[in-house]
Symmetry: D3
């Protein structure tokens, strides 16, 4: 069960409206790696958590915080949209600043949402739940979370470069700090699980049932061997089970596919006279 | 530029048809973390790569391999669909095995694809490119890759538990091995970048411009403090910049939002008489 | 079965081209609450109608009218796109009016549709059938219809404010009138059903099987009690079964969730040695 | 800012697992009118609210409650999935109950989510934010809310008919009560606004700028006049501005469309010799 | 403008209910190549038509017919859903026929649509407008239409094999006939345009501006030359401009890509100290 | 199995950056008929091919080539994005060229992809696999392929008109040539199949089971008979089975639909007292 506090977690007040920037800021609200994604990802992982109680609690703490980040971003976007002009060509012709604003705006901000934030990204594409994952496996999911916080922080930093509004920058400074903390958090949580199970997720599949040499080989599927120069191509495997092997010319180990001819009921075979497989009670 | 070899990278031949399992196997072909996702993710990261040449080469090597994995899975699924019955109720009534097969099949395998694999997941949902990311930042993207290989391996292991067909299991044994290798590969590549820049992605934002205390605090947004018992709540921060702090009762630092009243041109204000903002040349 | 009349239901002729406005007008053609939505919603409700014949007839009358509205909007958009320039930067640099047009255009109008209307909204997002509903319950569906006409009229009024082209405004004046009529129509149809069944949709679930006090309580899930000042928080319930109750501090009535540990075949449990649940005929 | 309480708002404990019903229950969690939809719809309307403070507070109270409903449904679904079998054909052949469960399950519950709830509907289709609306206009949005609660209650009642598990039914009894309350709430809130502005949303467009007769006419776009027998076809308009008029044979008032020929740069005109409009610096 | 006739274009009455077949039949109603697709494709092509008046009329004639096909399929599906059971496990255990029906049903038919047709395919995936195209070029679009009628007829024939209900088969016999006619129609219309412009769409790009040899070469991007044995690899080009050439070992003609290093404002470059490009008025 | 060659198939180097054109070029990379579509369509048709080996080889040859086209377009787009400015209003105000670039850019190019190509169209809409088809029937699928190459070439020609950059035009000249070749290829392949089976896809349904007259009739579903003037309305049917017939006034041959009343368990019937169908073990 949840409760709401009327104050925002942190200040969200721009110095001046900027409808074109409002559109851009939508990316970290409703985009693939926006706050809606981390909010829903952490909440679902928490609600579904079958592991030790401390993991559920931790996941729901951070998920609950992220609802508040969605709130901050919505509040900021609504204020950036204040004063958005309604009309178009005439005004744009007079003032290039207005023209740029109009050209860069999301039209749905003035047609659909009444100058409010929309649950979409910077191109107006709706958020959808395939952005998130809750697999039940803590190591796999904490890596999903680390990935989300890494992509998210990167986007916020890029957006910081694209405005000089002190109010916007102040809020972003807070969000950047929280994303840094959250990367630290997932890195620590991953470390905790890896110390138990090692770095492969899941660790529970018996190695002897795999094609073992294939779990060591970097396969060079191209002309030239620049790819041999990385940490991933030689030296010890990260999971400690042996060494990387660089296979310069990988060979096919499988058959040449030979699919059976089409089933007659599929009507895909050229050169047949008309027929019906399932005679049934046809006309 | 790419070339094709007619043989598969590894054997893909089931012992017997199993249309219901064919539907399930679609998940790791065209699902969120299926082979289409890693194939397209690595290819786009490689094509867009602006870093040292060895990274581009490595990304395209693995991306090229994954095209071959898509090929193996399609071949396997087409063979699992051999012998799929066309008709429904009558046959199901006679033989519970057929009934189960029919109930569990994807109807599009017999209506749309002619008993071929479809570019969709196990519920027939189409693959879409929001499953992938190519951000230009190596650390962020390698974490996306590690996440994809972790979720993907987990799903393949679960699918291994759901069949006993030796031919299917043999192919999955190979795919499991490759996923283990690919996790090793991304872990190694991440290590290489982290040794240069530390574990925060991106590292290049000046810390003094963040709200610094917020980058250390675990905020307990719930009653009860089970979440304090993890590695993420005390001890040194993973990035070495200080210690985690557990804030048991987080306080709001922001304002109570007060949005400006609706712009008249939005026609959202209750209690107004009819009006027109933009008089223009109306009727 | 349907027939087509070559004349439009109402005039649809702009005074001058305006490709940026063409993009905006797409919202009420192919957006969430555009004419495609009401057309398909009314047609599906009519085709599926199991109630008295007059409802089916009424639904198909208005659904058939809406096909004609799609036609009017397509015709208008195609004409607004006349004279859209093909080239970009050079021309924009010379004339800010052209620059604004180019910046505000939907690129697919010049690449994909040949200066024709597209079945998409103002951001080029495709129409999809999750915008509509046909539930079989008249009261529920008439409320969906009233909602669609309310959101749709609001958007058309906003678009009216964003142009001064007399031809566009004339067509919008007609569409506004029809939307007002259609709101009247659904309000009247709702009244007819509510007089029979009361205002809860569906009315047919036995009240004694509900947790009855919960059907009266406004729960204040926040600090502060501003929400107590509305009609929804005190006085008689709209359905006449009692009075609203304002619960200032709602209490949890449920358990603290305790999910069972992960099923072994899911490979989600940390700290286990490698294993296989379904031994079957593995390697 | 938000806080979490560890107890659920109401009990959510099934008497026995039922994986096929778990799939069905997903509809009211992540479907078009599920709890995720009302949660996000009320939160966005609240965050964007520019009207009197009591509306924002009310919207966020109910939005916050709905987060807790998502939590209850996730908890219930996870428990219904307990004991879901991993394997398929063999077991199905032995026991028709297991066969039915397997045939009716969502395969992603055993491949993707680790026997946890997914943010999708009963066909595994992901939730997306085009299910919701926040327009800035209170009357339009409260109608969207009433619609959502009506469709949602209808679905929950249907799902109640499809199980006899006392634990599931108990939770549904609570959710049904809340949906009844929420319909009462929106009906009351709508009444409050309509008493101010009348029943047309938005009321603020000047009627004299509409094609007035069109705002009164029911147009009979079909053979036969069954549609004349409803409240919507005669008698006073719901908004009190006159009477419904039934037009038995509507006439076209618009032109026959004549679009200009294709712009040459679109290369759509048959019968032309090869050419280039934009000579530029071509080969 | 459109009118509705109450009778269906052709009989649509099944002999007995069959909810599992109702789900399958959805494919040709709301799937990629279902009747909704051809209806919307022809209507949009007609509304947008800038060519001779006879094309617009023809497109709208067939588009209008297809609305009536949507009507027939909805009517059929609603009747196939009559008698669909509400409950699940108990009944399935008693009667394998009911079990198969339940396992094969679309749950949304009993939860969402009230036993009515849904605007979705056989997996419950919603129809969306990216299924259709209206490009403004008649030859390109008539080919899209021929493709849609070919895929659509194939699916209807497959569905015919999957039922023996005489009522369903009778309706499908009519739809098959119309699809054959419509293939004839588009083949004839294509012939008309090709006689004017030749077989390349569009014909209007000057050939001398292309890399001419590349317009004749079949490139063998694989080991082995089976692909040389088709009509496409030797003999005269279909457009009469020369002969096919089979290139057994295609060579790269392009550069090895060298992308510029990342722009600093993107924060993608490893190994840099923290910095800010856009100093602005930061904290 | 696939291999990668480091050189591009053809040069892909623009003379100067042009971020607004980069957005437009995305259409033929990740749009409905872009290179991702033909690549995936040909690969899936090849992987699923059950016909003579030469077809599989041919499909995979061209599919493999198209992977290289995706590579060329990504490379080109990344270079067009070089020098994209980060900031917005200030710069736009100074220089209309920069303003136009900013207004026309895809914001995700500077927020999400790090100045790299995205797997989306020119409006940022993600590629999805419903753009493609692999039906198992060669004639149907080759028509899908011809359609894709026709729409694709049309779009590339339009994009050629929208730039004068010699480097971009040179690459497009190559792509245009390949698209012309590929149209020739599919036309030839279609001819080969049609000579065997005739022009109806599939040919294998017995004509005597269709409603035969309906396979000859052009139905004039509108007032006026302009549609009678085309090749499709008179003269021999393209498949040689008779002559087109023009039906000026088509008559309904079906019943007036009468659906059964709603099933009680659906709770859709107005005027009923509260009830429960499935008594079970309710509260």
């Amino acid at each position: 069960m949840f409760f709401h506090i009327k104050e925002l977690q942190f200040k969200a007040k721009p110095e001046r409206p900027d409808p074109a920037y409002a559109r851009k800021l939508q990316e970290v609200l409703g985009g693939q790696f926006g706050e809606m994604s981390v909010m829903m990802q952490y909440l679902f992982q928490g609600f579904n958590c079958r592991a030790d109680r401390k993991y559920r609690d931790m996941l729901l703490d951070i998920g609950t915080e992220e609802i508040g980040h969605v709130e901050m971003l919505c509040t900021m976007i609504a204020q950036l949209l204040d004063g958005a002009p309604a009309d178009q060509l005439e005004e744009a012709a007079k003032d290039p600043l207005i023209g740029a604003a109009l050209g860069g705006m999301n039209p749905q901000h003035v047609i659909v949402s009444g100058l409010g934030a929309t649950p979409t990204d910077s191109n107006g594409f709706p958020w959808n739940s395939r952005y998130i994952v809750s697999s039940g496996n803590l190591l796999a999911d904490f890596r999903a979370n680390l990935n989300a916080e890494s992509q998210g922080l990167l986007q916020v930093v890029r957006l910081y470069e694209q405005t000089t509004d002190p109010g916007v920058r102040e809020m972003l400074s807070f969000m950047i700090a929280r994303d840094i903390m959250h990367q630290n958090q997932w890195l620590a949580a991953i470390e905790e699980i890896e110390q138990l199970d090692g770095p492969i997720a899941p660790a529970s599949f018996p190695r002897e049932l795999t094609v073992e040499e294939a779990s060591r080989q970097f396969l060079n599927f191209s002309e030239g061997e620049e790819s041999s120069m990385g940490r991933w191509a030689s030296g010890p495997l990260y999971d400690g089970t042996g060494n990387f092997e660089y296979v310069a010319k990988p060979q096919a180990m499988g058959q040449q596919p030979e699919l059976a001819p089409p089933a007659p009921h599929q009507h895909s075979t050229p050169g047949t006279p008309p027929y019906l497989v399932n005679k049934g009670k046809s006309l």
